[in-house]
């Protein structure tokens, strides 16, 4: 079994030395393996500043880890030869948050689709290229005759985002990283785009890393979930376990903040303080200053990962009893390896 991606004790620290006030630990000692077979959707959930986008940028090779290494199919993404890098850029595709900013307004939307075909020589003739484009557009529910030949400003945000998904599909990648792909799209169109991503996973066998702050959409499309807070894993495991019955107080906070359209499930006022960046030399649990269950030891030592169930770990002292600890390097041990219902 080959690993598709592997994070080995990766930390990313922005800013200067240990006593620099601006020093920010964006990702701390993070390890994870995602297998190539079977292709699954992994959700990475957290607020702004949780390190979820840094994780994606490290994976793409846009950031260099401060310590540790990131591997794609066994190759360090920061030490690839030119031809390896080229193959990597083919195999890993990205869907960005902002469907407005990624288009050049002077080009027709065709440009984002024809460019990768030319670059990676996916078609030998114009007709073949056109056929390819029509196919991928159809997969995401767009009609070629209504899409091609238009300028970005003539399309809705939802349509633009679907073209980006179609573009990713064009290259038949091994992995798609989708960073908040629906947060700037109308609520009514979100479902369609997430449905598209799900289809790419099921029909074309593409693994997906879905980065979001919304547990609800993460629950709907993914198989495994990692909840990050200030660069550290709070909770991780099979998605039905994590969202169905969140154990970490931070996951519970995220869960209780989702506005549900259900009159019986109204928001409770809990007065959780806003997030504050822990000091660079803070050794305790990063969620301690917002946690309603905070204990003395939370301020001094970061809790390890407690494996509370076969398919879940929680980094919280509340679950210390009767739960074995799991090495942070073995996060994937609690992930499901087969798609579940």
């Amino acid at each position: 079994m080959t690993a598709l991606i592997e994070f080995r004790n990766v930390s990313k620290i922005f800013g200067g030395g240990l006593f620099d006030k601006k020093r920010t630990v964006a990702l701390e000692n993070f390890s994870m393996t995602i297998n190539e077979v079977p292709p699954l959707i992994t959700a990475v959930v957290g607020e702004s500043g949780s390190g979820k986008t840094t994780l994606a940028r490290l994976l793409l090779g846009l950031e260099t880890p401060s310590t540790g290494e990131v591997l794609f199919r066994g190759r360090n993404v920061h030490a690839m030869s030119q031809s390896e890098r080229r193959q990597f850029l083919h195999d890993v595709q990205f869907v960005f948050q902002d469907p407005y900013g990624v288009y050049n307004p002077f080009y027709k939307v065709d440009h984002v689709l024809t460019k990768p075909i030319a670059k990676f020589k996916l078609a030998s003739s114009r007709q073949e290229a056109r056929k390819l484009i029509e196919n991928v557009l159809e997969t995401v529910g767009l009609r070629a005759e209504e899409t091609l030949g238009r300028y970005p400003h003539q399309m809705s945000g939802g349509q633009r985002q679907r073209i980006m998904v179609a573009r990713a599909l064009l290259l038949k990648p091994k992995l798609i990283i989708a960073d908040e792909p629906v947060s700037m799209v109308d609520a009514s169109l979100r479902a369609t785009i997430l449905g598209n991503l799900q289809e790419l996973n099921e029909k074309f066998g593409i693994s997906i890393i879905y980065i979001t702050h919304d547990l609800a959409t993460g629950f709907q499309i993914s198989h495994n979930m990692i909840v990050l807070y200030h660069g550290a894993v709070s909770e991780a495991g099979e998605v039905n376990r994590v969202v169905g019955e969140p154990q970490h107080p931070y996951t519970q906070l995220l869960m209780n903040s989702i506005p549900l359209p259900v009159p019986e499930r109204m928001w409770h006022r809990d007065n959780t303080p806003p997030p504050t960046k822990p000091a660079a030399d803070f050794q305790g649990c990063k969620f301690a200053n917002r946690c309603p269950h905070v204990m003395e030891r939370c301020q001094t030592q970061q809790p390890p990962l407690y494996q509370t169930e076969t398919q879940r770990v929680v980094s919280c002292y509340l679950y210390e009893e009767n739960a074995p600890t799991l090495d942070r390097a073995g996060l994937e041990k609690v992930f499901v390896t087969q798609p579940t219902g």
């Binding site: 607020e47 702004s48 809705s156 945000g157 939802g158 349509q159 947060s183 700037m184 109308d186 609520a187 009514s188 169109l189 979100r190 479902a191 369609t192 785009i193 997430l194 449905g195 799900q198 702050h213 919304d214 547990l215 609800a216 959409t217 629950f219 709907q220 499309i221 969202v243 169905g244 906070l253 995220l254 869960m255 209780n256 903040s257 989702i258 506005p259 549900l260 359209p261 259900v262 009159p263 109204m266 928001w267 006022r269 959780t272 806003p274 997030p275 219902g341």
Partner: protein, 322 residues
Amino acid sequence: MSEVVLQVRNLQVHYATPRGPVKAVNNVSFDLHKGEILGLVGESGSGKTTLGMALCGLIRSPGRLAGGEILLDGRNLAGLSEDAYKKVRLADIALMPQGAMNSLNPVIRIREQILDGLRDHGVMLTRLEADHHVESLLERVGLRGEVANMYAHELSGGMKQRVAMAIAISMKPKIIIADEPTSALDVVVQKRIIETLQDVQAELGASIIMIGHDMGLMAQTVDRLGVMYAGQMIEIGAISKTLVDPKHPYTRLLIESLPSTTEKKPLRGIPGLAPQLLNLPQGCAFHPRCPHTFDRCTVETPALIEAAPWRWAACHLLDTDQ
């Protein structure tokens, strides 16, 4: 129902284009009651933001108010001169614009930006009074007094949104129009901003029109909900009733398109695309996307009818004579 603060009657906003007028707001009527939060939802291009701008007298060329009345405590604001409307804005109707957090001036301290509006309305304050006023406004929206001396770039997205709220309430308006007050914010921050908005509203006794596209957020926030489609109000009524038993098929689809956290189901959005306003379909504007379309929908535009007590919807299915 409590007293009515604002009555909007047959409001029309048209944008002139070479291919004819675009009816961005098409014959919209509704009442806003004292102390209530009214939500307006719809897809991009449904006219909800234009409606909010029209209530603030902010429609600029090539747009124009093409008809209708905006009655604030019985006084018609439609057709007021720009100078006269300036006196109404902020003092009576305040706007928290879309992306309010990006509307702050980056080179002016927060204190000055809050006082700017007051000065424009001829409110004279001594330095001490001004300091006190700014501090109490900031505290009311959950910010520390020190924020007054900061610049926009020193604040987080949620804090900037709170500053926009402080500016909006600086003259104790009767009506606050909040256009997507939490878009681009994280769920946790979003919840806290909405809670603050509710607190501020209760304290001032103001009415709020909250514009957005997220049904879930509306469910948690508003008292009544208006649903807009292609410039028209197609359903309006108490949110608690609308959520359980939506009267318009579009409203039902909006609610169903939200992801659940308890059961996994196939993700389906609303099929089709929002219509082009220049080229609206004949009859009901929603009929090409509606799962229940029948002959009448393609020829006749449905009018808002009272589908249940205090609930109105514009759909031929509700016409019991059929």
